[in-house]
Symmetry: C2
Subunit: 233 residues, 2 copies
């Protein structure tokens, strides 16, 4: 009946370490104190410090490596990807919900990408779409190029949050992609998917946000339809 959240020592240590990062204004790559030092300063055992480090490393807030000191980490979608996968696996999130979110953010992404993409990115995006055309008989390669296509677009949007989210969804997308592929049994349907990607790429390369957004919408319309055909819950 005692609701006082008596936070354990590990939680305290996590707080102390994040506070340390903030107060010292550490940036990605900067080193943190050694486990021994922290355990002395916080008056806890090295065990506690290690568990705190592991927690922060799981969230990709810091990065660990044997022998080296822990360093502040660059943001990365790995942890988020696992969280989303867990949500999907435990039936707390379904694939259609993810597609609704992806559609929402990817139509925005492609608008921004059409405006802000560098020439190198335009070339890369076009190249990926082209390569998809040659992957007709190799679904795995096709999927990889598809995922890379969307990720490169996200990067071209110049907003790391979009990259983060797209990356977070790639884990589940990788697992469900084959379903969408199988639900496009005809050559026409498969060609359409690739063609749409080429259209998106060309619109982005032409710096035509309107056209790019429309093509992306069409892509998701078609994808969601395919998934519904497959009877995905």
């Amino acid at each position: 009946m005692d609701n006082i959240a008596s936070t354990g020592r590990v939680e305290d240590a996590i707080g102390a370490i994040t506070r340390h990062i903030r107060e010292k204004d550490l940036m990605p790559g900067d080193k943190l104190p050694s486990e021994a030092l922290l355990s002395k300063e916080l008056n806890v055992s090295r065990t506690v410090v290690r568990e705190a480090f592991r927690s922060l490393a799981a969230m990709r807030i810091i990065e660990l490596a044997t022998g080296k000191r822990a360093i502040v980490a660059r943001i990365d979608h790995g942890a988020m990807s696992l969280m989303i996968e867990h949500g999907v696996h435990t039936d707390q999130i379904n694939i259609q919900q993810i597609y609704d979110v992806r559609r929402t953010i990817e139509t925005r992404i492609v608008t921004l990408a059409a405006i802000r993409r560098s020439d190198a990115e335009a070339t890369e995006i076009l190249g990926l779409a082209e390569r998809m055309r040659g992957d007709a008989d190799n679904p795995t390669a096709l999927m990889d190029h598809d995922l890379a296509f969307h990720m490169t677009l996200a990067q071209a949007s110049r907003n790391p949050v979009y990259s983060l989210l797209i990356g977070a969804f790639q884990g589940v997308t990788r697992q469900t992609w084959p379903i969408g592929w199988k639900s496009r049994p005809t050559q026409a349907a498969r060609d359409l998917m690739v063609t749409t990607h080429v259209e998106i790429a060309q619109a982005v390369a032409a710096s035509d946000p309107q056209k790019a957004t429309a093509a992306m919408s069409q892509h998701f319309d078609e994808s969601v339809r395919a998934l519904l055909t497959a009877g995905l819950s």
Copy 2:
């Protein structure tokens, strides 16, 4: 020069535990084996199992409690919130980028909410907007009601991924909200903000997606303008 990612034992244990969850099809609330049992089955020390547990707990994939066995967790935005805060603090993400994402997903959320909200949710959303009107001289209460308003909308969208994302952004929003408030120094600007919320709530209550979406767009236009006025990087 040896790129073979010889994953440590903790990483292996994390993999084994998540595999266990998937294979046994565990759902939120289900218990996991004890640390001692896992350490025996995986042929590692309890130390390793504990660090693996901490990692999974940090991502809110499992939940720990003293004395009890670890259980599979319900998805929760806590971890994501910390990750985003870290990204902002280390200058990898800026506030405008977050507002762009929020704008993108919240305009979608309000569309869905206007269609799918329950009557209870409509009442709650209207109530929160009304309460904001009474908070003119209490910025903290106003902020809390504002955040609750947006969170309730997300829940009304009936897509847990949107709730997750809105929750993930609330950590930083809480830290930057005062900046936005100070950048609305006139009574007129402050009234406008509250009025816009009321308009959104009314449109959602009236099941008018178009109007709701337009009002939400206006809200973000105004917010972003306020932040730019404040000279936020």
